[in-house]
Symmetry: C2
Subunit: 198 residues, 2 copies
DNA sequence: GACATCTGGTAAACACTGTCAAGTAGTGAG
DNA sequence: CTCACTACTTGACAGTGTTTACCAGATGTC
């Protein structure tokens, strides 16, 4: 007398299993087992294992985009910093999900026109808007906002990945702020905007 | 009358298979098959599949460290830029190997004392030396060289990862230089040192 | 030369995996 | 009552990593 086994419940189970033991350890049969069901039953709601993983990743994008709400109401520069910190915090708190989200190519969605609803594009577009605003407000040196946003994303994603690879490198938590500080300074921002300058 | 199946030849075969079809598609039995041998035979030279993948990754680190030779004789700042470009070029040219090298945690070696021979630490130490030299020469604002090197690595690794995820984002090849430009500027370098300023 | 030993490999098997084809309870409509 | 449909199960296929037991052939010793 369980719930009727929707795609949603499958993805949710897979998500929790990914977060617990990593995407590499996820088995379709394991998900089915954990739902009290045999494996082929999943195929009515899910095309393949890859499809399921994509769905899990997409739910991750949605969560990440949601975490950007915290920058609402802030000035453009503060919003950029806040978003970057949320991005980093997301990576640290949900490492396995984060790894899955950016494993292989699924983030190619970012500029893919077909998937405009994707949380990945939502998140990126939000950050892009802040960059545009910052430039218009003269808080950043003029330039192509798209390029600047990509540079920012690269830097933040990089520091997150590096800290994921070698935990303990960011023991004091300074590395993120160091990266933000450096990049924003390189973009012509007045550095005092970034809190916690060393 | 084949060669006597050393660990070296196994790793080399695995490496070429990884580069051809990705680490995810690598099967121990496939490697054995491609060597004209049955799978258990490999276990005399390799502990497990993970062990084999680690060995492949390590050979990647060695290649990457080797590519840093091209910065020999350059000034500290130019060397940093050259190394960064080599890093990025490596990621673009050998994407599958690069992904494997930084998949999961094997890069924790970077600061692991036990693995001082690792190519990863060699590569990082070389870059670190350039940062130290640049600071001493007054080409970079003073600061903790380790932190600056980590910031640099984060940024370069990030732009490589991003370009790997969303190819076409770097269609004109400008993004790397943009990142280098921004980060070095943020570190207090005189930007003219970085070629191709936009 | 004959015998024991050691090496590098094979065969078979275990416990898994993703996926597909066919079959089967249960349910609602006509 | 029967038909059709949904939601699931059984069973199977081909493949995986890994272990155990075995075997041929080279090697070294008497």
């Amino acid at each position: 007398m369980n719930e009727p086994l929707s795609r949603h419940v499958i993805v949710a189970t897979a998500l929790s299993m990914v977060e617990a033991h990593g995407a590499g350890a996820l088995s379709l049969r394991g998900v089915a087992r954990s739902l009290g069901v045999t494996a082929p039953a999943l195929y009515d709601h899910v095309d393949s294992k890859s499809d399921l993983l994509r769905a899990v990743a997409e739910s991750g994008y949605a969560d990440l985009a949601g975490s950007f709400e915290s920058s609402r109401g802030l000035g453009p520069l503060d919003a950029m910093v806040e978003n970057a910190r949320q991005y980093f915090a997301f990576a640290m708190a949900r490492r396995e999900l984060f790894s899955l989200m950016f494993r292989y190519r699924p983030a190619a969605i970012v500029l893919d026109v077909d998937n405009e609803l994707s949380g990945a594009t939502q998140a990126f577009d939000a950050s892009l808007a802040h960059v545009v605003a910052a430039i218009e407000a003269g808080l950043l040196a003029p330039g192509d906002p798209l390029e600047l946003a990509l540079v920012m994303w690269s830097a933040v994603h990089g520091v997150a990945t590096v800290c994921l690879l070698a935990p303990g490198l960011n023991a004091d938590g300074r590395l993120v702020d160091q990266v933000l500080h450096t990049v924003l300074r390189g973009m012509g921002a007045s550095v005092t905007a970034v809190g916690g300058a060393p």
